[in-house]
Symmetry: C2
Subunit: 156 residues, 2 copies
Amino acid sequence: MLRITKQTDYGIVLLTHFGLADEGQLLSAKELAERTRIPAPMVAKILKILVRAGLLDSQRGAAGGYGLARPARDLSLLEMIAALEGPVSMTECAEMGSGCPIEAGCRPRVNWKLINQVVQAALEGITLERMITPAPACATLDLGLVRAGLEAPQRT
Amino acid sequence: MLRITKQTDYGIVLLTHFGLADEGQLLSAKELAERTRIPAPMVAKILKILVRAGLLDSQRGAAGGYGLARPARDLSLLEMIAALEGPVSMTECAEMGSGCPIEAGCRPRVNWKLINQVVQAALEGITLERMITPAPACATLDLGLVRAGLEAPQRT
DNA sequence: CGAAACCGGACCAGAAAAGTCCTGAAAAGA
DNA sequence: TCTTTTCAGGACTTTTCTGGTCCGGTTTCG
């Protein structure tokens, strides 16, 4: 659990196809639906969302289509997810200041903010460009470091 | 978005109350509902889940109630979430080997596994004990380290 | 003009989440 | 022993979200 929605998943797959296409080349919704085998109306819907969020540019008309609004190296996974399903935050109270009816006996709040930051940092650190590289070279990561960053008891 | 469910959120709040109580003290569902202001039937439901998952022990009868099955320092957030909403994985394909109809044009797979590991490491690194400490001292963390762990291009 | 695309929504069915309720079984105490 | 308290286990309802479809309108190219 803690899953991204299918729509978001689709959206990211679509974006990777833009990343793989030649710079500036336009891809149409229909074309993408065929390539990815995602249902066409769904593809159309998602592309519209991505345009509104500013991740894609669109061109209408007979030879129209969609293209990345920014180079793949400047597009983070965090932005993609935020565009497709709203700002990333694991709990309500980590996002909004308050309004939580539980607040009385709620201590975890502070830590949730922290966890959010970790998740966001992780997502922000992965770019579309990286998502499309063959990746065996990138397939390692040092979890020890992640953990260390989290445990840092107190900055001196 | 990317939220934990309300049920999970409640569950964690409940667990923190056990962490704060004296070691070995039993808390009843009713009592917890009053303290946390979470609807009583909900509390009952969640506590049952936590017992089945082995995070809590229960004692029936007049002076019965619930208590932590393990000390707070041995209980990670990852376990709590997993108990309450199933194993943590952000995408389907990151969990199951395959079955994904998109597989044809799907490159991100590898990176998803990676991201999952980061999230899991983050959640695993936070214990119940830590969730209940007043926390100003723990409120900092070095995001640089997290990012570094993620970017580690290649282990030498 | 007409075909090919995008635009903006409305819409629906099915699934999941949130929350309730009821019956039964154990343990403690009078 | 009988009553009370409290957990156990489900069934159930209601609400919300998600995945997916469809349509009328507009822009652009040929």
